[in-house]
């Protein structure tokens, strides 16, 4: 499937050694599935967790980056002589610095620009960097650098990018590849068959990731060996980029990312700032810390592109979908990405005749990056509102209408079976838990406060898989060390890993140590993005634990002189099934004592071939709109999620509520605003670019996991959750607003200003 554009692995997924034989499926669990506080909670609440932004090394310098203030400009000259003389300044680098002029990559072998590009294609492009004794001295020095720019005409609006006279952002023009088209069946015939058709154009805002920890790194050299602390979602991908950029073997580049303050997709790519820090650390012979100011994070570290989507949907009067036409337009920003949104439209419902078309353009704006379910919340905003509108026209209850059109097989290629699909359960049991039917009946139409309820469904397309390697070590006292490369970006990775080992080996959670996210000392893992860490890495954790267990049983069998098949591990003892008198405590296994440690290595098995392994969700909400002020209050939210087996119910709930919160921002609050005269972002801070606060979300959230282990997919039966949690949210709110007011809001975010205008128009019509 080429739809997995956002979390791309080039070429075929590598084969990993098969686990000898696969772990048994858990029938009952005592640890997995419970509500387990995090294994690193102490560090996170006490202040002892060292985030990359907290790293402070002896003799360390502080870096800062000078950025182009124009949307489109050529750098004609740079004069750094004044800056170099400023107090505390130790290094100033530009494109003219030896070793600093290099190609800049997005993926392997595909250079898309230069580290310092003299052709600045958007506001915020990097022009120079400095390192000084203090951050304020570095900032002072930036102001002393004199740059002569040639301002160029720019284009910042998607719909103007393809005009014949639009200034070209890239040499080949502003169309980023031919529009990608997907066709199934005969769309014209499908619409001819339809009794009811709806068609509308929907718009979604450009959303900024805005993780609370700014982007940045600390770089330190020991001779030709580089150590980098980076706020990243994947240390191994940073290692690879840095080794290429600096011409070092990967073994000379160590990247550490133990704690990191959120990413949401923005911290998958390597930042130019990391290379600047490394270059300046090499020039000065001193460690350099370079973190971006919040304003820069808003402008240059990625976004969810704005999209314009037109959807036409037809159904027979019995409620069967017959045809769909879907077009989507979005912008990369100035460099290559993919602003497509159509995947969910193509596959969520059974529809024999469809045509989708995605167009991505270049504009003189900051480059987009994958953001929590790239393309999917945008698609849901249009598709799920169109489904509700169609249901209303057909006079079918909207949840029933969705249930009626669920596919039996994924409509990928000629139909691929699911390993599991509990979307119907999400809709049905979600509606039941929410009190959907009763809530739909109760609708005050008098007074200034109007209530409404809405629902929306979703799936997520990227599901994880190999490669992943994990090592579990059991020490002679029975305590355990888990060694895995995955980053814990706040999702609770370390905690479920400990829970899986605790389940399998019967070790208490507090006797388990975790080391992770360090390219020098932990096992290779892909980046934590795409909701794939659980399904990619949890089976490897389990396999490693099973490997340890097998060895323990073999050693115990030698010692007890019984067959290994007769033994089982129970409460830290190896016991004979046939003769319970024959047993030995794990810590009394002689060979363990002699060896000091038992080591198990686990690998991620390949995914089943020809099967679709997606997670699913349905979300429900109730809103209250003040028709005098246009203010909208979220009354309550419920997320019903099929993410396979629930590993940790406590963090599962938190993830669902967090995804809903981000979706609330997308649907109600957030929007990047660009100045039309200068092309600059005017709300590049948390005051002007609002993200939800505790007062903006509902006071009541409920999470309903369907908890259906998918063992055909992988050995733990768990699927991803991070992205599914945010896809349906805004669409559910849109549907609730329509239910409350009889107004279909097509342009997100639903602000009070927009609602007041629409209410005014509604009154005028009446």
């Amino acid at each position: 499937m080429k739809d997995t554009h956002a979390y791309h692995i080039d070429g075929a997924v590598p084969e990993t050694p098969e686990n000898r034989p696969g772990p048994e499926t858990w029938r009952e669990t005592t640890v997995v599935g419970t509500r387990q506080p995090r294994v690193d909670a102490y560090e996170r609440v006490s202040g002892t967790a060292v985030f990359p932004h907290d790293v402070s090394l002896p003799d360390m310098l502080h870096g800062a980056v000078l950025r182009c203030p124009y949307a489109h400009a050529n750098v004609l000259s740079i004069d750094t002589s004044e800056a170099e003389k400023m107090p505390g300044v130790q290094a100033v680098i530009t494109a003219d610095t030896p070793g600093a002029d290099m190609p800049w990559y997005q993926r392997r072998d595909k250079a898309y620009g230069r580290l310092f590009d003299k052709h600045c294609r958007h506001e915020g492009e990097e022009v120079a960097a400095v390192a000084a004794e203090t951050p304020l001295q570095a900032a002072d020095a930036l102001r002393a650098i004199k740059v002569e720019y040639e301002e160029l005409p720019f284009v910042i609006n998607d719909d103007e990018a393809l005009a014949p006279d639009a200034p070209p952002v890239q040499d080949g023009g502003n169309l980023a590849g031919e529009p990608s088209v997907r066709e199934r069946g005969d769309v014209a015939a499908g619409f001819a068959e339809a009794d009811v058709i709806v068609e509308r154009t929907y718009k979604t805002p450009c959303q900024i990731h805005a993780p609370m920890e700014p982007h940045g790194s600390v770089a330190k050299w020991d001779g030709n060996r580089l150590t980098v602390w980076d706020s990243t979602q994947g240390v191994f991908s940073i290692q690879e980029t840095l080794s290429r950029a600096l011409g070092l073997p990967m073994s000379n580049v160590r990247v550490i990312g133990h704690y990191m303050g959120g990413g949401f997709g923005a911290k998958l790519e390597t930042g130019k700032y990391t290379v600047f820090a490394a270059l300046m650390a090499r020039i000065t012979g001193r460690p350099v810390k370079l973190f971006l100011p919040r304003e820069d994070c808003f402008i240059v570290t990625g976004n969810r592109p704005a999209n314009t989507m037109t959807i036409k949907l037809g159904a027979r009067s019995d409620g069967t979908l017959t045809a769909m036409e879907y077009t989507s337009l979005g912008s990369n920003g100035a460099y290559r990405y993919n602003a497509a949104t159509s995947t969910m439209a193509a596959y969520l419902y059974q529809c024999p005749n469809i045509r989708t078309e995605d167009t991505t353009v270049y504009t003189n704006t900051g480059k987009a990056r994958p953001m929590r379910a790239p393309g999917f919340p945008q698609c849901a905003w249009s598709l799920e509102q169109a489904m509700d509108e169609l249901a209303a026209k057909l006079k079918i209850e909207p949840v029933a209408f969705r249930l009626q059109n669920l596919p039996e097989k994924a409509q990928v290629r000629d139909g691929m079976p699911y390993t599991s699909n509990q979307l119907a359960a999400c809709l049905q049991r979600g509606a039941e838990a929410f009190g959907w039917e009763e809530a739909r009946k109760k609708k005050p139409t008098e007074g200034h406060l109007r209530r409404g309820v809405g629902a929306a469904a979703s799936f997520w397309v990227y599901s994880g898989g190999p490669p992943s390697t994990v090592i579990v070590k059991l020490y002679s006292d029975g305590s355990v060390n888990i060694n895995m490369g995955a980053s814990d970006i706040g999702t609770g990775t370390k905690t479920w890993a400990a829970m899986i080992v605790a389940e399998e080996l019967g070790v208490a959670i507090d006797r388990i140590q975790l080391e992770h996210a360090d390219t020098a000392t932990t096992q290779y893992a892909t980046s934590s993005g795409g909701s794939k860490t659980v399904p990619s890495d949890s089976p490897a954790v389990l396999a490693a634990a099973v490997e340890v267990k097998k060895q323990l049983l073999r050693y115990a069998a030698e010692q007890l002189e019984v067959s290994v098949e007769d033994l089982e591990l129970r409460n830290s003892e190896v016991v004979s099934r046939t003769d319970p008198e024959k047993k030995v405590a794990v810590t009394d296994i002689e060979r363990l004592g002699r060896q000091g440690v038992v080591i198990g290595t686990g690998y991620r098995d390949p995914n089943p071939e020809g099967k679709v392994t997606w997670p699913f969700a349905a979300q429900f909400c109730e809103v209250e709109v003040n028709v005098r002020t246009g203010e909208l209050r979220l009354v309550r939210f419920l997320g019903a999620h099929d993410s396979g087996r629930v590993l940790n119910r406590l963090t599962f709930d938190n993830q669902v509520f967090g995804g809903i919160t981000m979706g609330v921002g997308f649907g109600l609050i957030e929007e990047r605003v660009l100045d039309q005269q200068t092309g600059a972002m005017v709300n590049a801070n948390f005051h002007d670019y609002k993200i939800p606060t505790m007062l903006d979300v509902a006071a009541s959230h409920a999470c309903l996991p369907i908890d259906h282990p998918d063992h055909e997919f992988n050995s733990t039966g768990a699927k991803g959750l991070g992205e599914p949690a945010t896809i349906a949210t805004a669409a559910a709110i849109g549907n609730a607003v329509a239910d409350a007011l009889g107004i279909r809001v097509t342009d997100a975010p639903i602000t009070p200003e927009k609602l007041i205008e629409l209410l005014h128009a509604q009154r005028k019509e009446a």
Binding site: R38, F51, T134
Partner: protein, 208 residues
């Protein structure tokens, strides 16, 4: 320094503008306010990089150090004293990641010069620990999973601590209102609210 010592019954938090101007040089004034008021004697100008003395009481311990007048309390905590529990999120008073208590009130450490904090009891997230034991609010955040990535968490915890010191029995609305100055992009708000409620309970039960 010593211009902002608290008199009996005097509700000062930080310094008065006049006392502040009298106590430090214009470099700091310019950094703090941007302009010097007309009619006031213009003090000697501090060159960039010139240091002044300050004594900061942080988590019960007095730190005497030299600072540039323009350094914020946040900068001094993190970069000069390596007390890094307090996080930098925006450094412009918008996100709340750097919330500390000044006396018992939650304040954004990025919006205050280090000089202004002299004379106050500064409490950071580390100051809630009793040895290696977590404080009540910290324990409640663990139990209720009141965080995800953990970056905004010290600020959330200090906001909650300040809220509960001022109001030991907050309503749901008071919790939502009291915590709304602290952003959490992971969106752990529901669990944070649960944790604050839980912390109120633990405090009421005398820390049990």
């Amino acid at each position: 320094m010593g211009t902002n010592r608290k008199g009996p019954g005097e509700p000062t938090k930080g310094v008065t503008r006049r006392g502040f101007i009298g106590s430090v040089s214009a470099g700091a004034v310019a950094a703090a306010t941007g302009v010097a008021r007309r009619g006031e004697a213009v003090p000697e100008i501090t060159a960039p990089g010139e240091m002044v003395q300050v004594a900061l009481t942080i988590n019960g311990r007095v730190h005497r150090l030299l600072v540039e007048p323009r350094w914020t309390l946040l900068f001094v905590l993190r970069e000069r004293l390596a007390i890094t529990g307090t996080k930098a999120g925006c450094e412009r008073g918008e996100c709340g990641s750097c919330t500390v208590l000044l006396d018992d009130q939650p304040r954004y450490a990025c919006m205050m010069l280090a000089l202004e904090a002299e004379g106050a009891e500064i409490t950071t997230v580390e100051g809630l620990l009793d040895g290696e034991e977590l404080g009540e609010v910290q324990r409640a955040f663990v139990e209720h999973d009141g965080f995800q990535c953990g970056y905004c968490t010290p600020g959330q915890i200090m906001a909650a601590e300040g809220l509960l010191r001022a109001n030991s029995n907050p309503s749901t609305y008071e919790i939502r209102h009291g915590m709304s100055g602290n952003l959490c992009r992971c969106g752990a708000y529901q669990h944070i609210a649960n944790a604050v409620e839980g912390a109120a309970g633990i405090k009421k039960a005398g820390g049990k």
